[in-house]
Amino acid sequence: MKKIINFLEKFYMVLIFLLLYAPIITLIVLSFNKSRTRAKWGGFSLKWYISLFEDEAILNALYTTLILALLSALIATILGTMACLGLRMMKKWSRNTVMSITNIPMLNSDIVTGISFMLLFIGIGMKLSFKTVLIAHITFNLPYVILSIMPKLRQINMNTYEAALDLGASPSFAFRKIILPDIMPGILSGFLLAFTMSLDDFVITHFTKSPGIDTLSTKIYTEVRKGIKPEMYALSTIMFVTVLVLLLIINLKPAKKDKKA
């Protein structure tokens, strides 16, 4: 009986992961497809990987996407970490107010968020540009960062920190040695999450970008009508495999990491 249940559980999990990863496998297969149209298999080929590196438009979009993700995640992480530290010292109701507002971009629909940004930028006479997209990305990244750090901060035992101060540590020293290490995992996961969210966003970028600025998402959306360029599949495959390999490396040494954390 137990074996059957075990098997069923495994089977179920495989099914779900099949659902999640079937499109990804499809895209990877398509990137090796010799024929240009996605419906026909024309044989195995690496040519899209070669032409990818000659396609300036795609490389530019990749560059914009990465810069945008990195900058927005970084700024959001810094702002968010500071906010978490400050919020702890605030009165309960003001903290709660701030937290409820923080939730808005995460819960609000992308389309309303994107549109509200567009209306704001046009309303205050700010020309759409890379800056406006960056502002929008930072804003929708912030809740993810804050929500990753807050729980870690709650678990901190403030007595240790105060003890350190009593023993003559400067506040900044005590912060670096005691609080920061404890919330670091939260900061890191907040950063990674923000980075991923920014990378995956289409709707908000769609409404806040100016001509000539394309992220991979907006580039793909314009390509949808006329057929996606196979180079795009090749690029996605490279990105995906890179992340996968990185994750495997990190997770193959979990024991080491756990001890120190």
Binding site: A39, I67, P211, R225, K226, K256, K257
Partner: protein, 355 residues
Amino acid sequence: MRRRLTGMVLASALAITTIFGGCKGSGSAGENGQIVVYNWGEYIDPDVIDMFEEETGIKVVYEEFTTNEDMYPKVSSGAAAYDVVCPSDYMVQKMIEEGLLEKLNYDNIPNIANIDKDYLESAKQFDPDNEYCVPYCWGTVGILYNKTMVEEPIDSWDVLWDEQYKGEILMQKSVRDAFAVALKKLGYSLNSKDDAELEAAKQELIEQKPLVQAYVIDEVRDKMINNEAAIGVIYSGEAIYTQRENSDLEYVVPKEGSNVWIDGWVIPKNCSNKEGAEAFINFMCDPEIALMNFEYITYSTPNKAARELIEDEDIKNSKVAFPDKDVLDRCETFNYLGEEYDEIYNNLWKEVMSK
């Protein structure tokens, strides 16, 4: 381990900001400024842009749209400044009437001489004195069908309402194109402002909806090539390309008549580099360049000099790219119908879509 990770993140962030700073420098204008071009998807040979940049030293920021209706609010809202845009006839008219366009200085566009007088003449329907718009491409709207998937040759819009092709039909998604099909099927003008006619056309479109596999814009091209559907409504310019990829496909302009359209270059009022924009338009009218574009996008060119340069006799005399006069005689150009009727069309279309 942990400290190293933070170090890595910070270091990479630092490196990136330096690159970013550098990129901004190189990303800014070319030696002679820059222009922002707003064009249809895949509507130019990318090499042409490089050649233009090299020849003039003007940097091109290139952006694409999918329908006239998508393009219009972006230009009219002024959220971004475009220097050259390529709308279709009725949209040009609308933009002229709303004062969104700048008059062209033809001293900067001597290559206009290469454009066939006939097309400048028909452009007068929406640009009465040829002051605002230089024709870029033109064509008809018709039916593309797969010879192996239909019973007999097709010559009428009626086939799009034929039960036996249920799920085999691809319709156009933009308002004017969809209504043009229904209005023409009923024998009305595609610029109809008659409420009864429009109501009848709406009913036709609602009736047709269950038979339609999908409402598409440019996706029709790939779907037809991949044998996903038997019949599709398509622009003539796509026909040559699709036939090259799939020889079972045939293009026809239905006997009830259809739409003949012209897309042309215009310069919006809030442009930031008018001379650059005119230089670009002039470059596009160069015979060699027009030929390159024609061969890449396969949309008919109004450039007489370029057409004479076409080497492939089949294409040069193609009835699809350059249809006979009797075909064109039964076709109509779209007119701008005014704000009121724009909204009526939009609302009727929404009713169709929500059924």
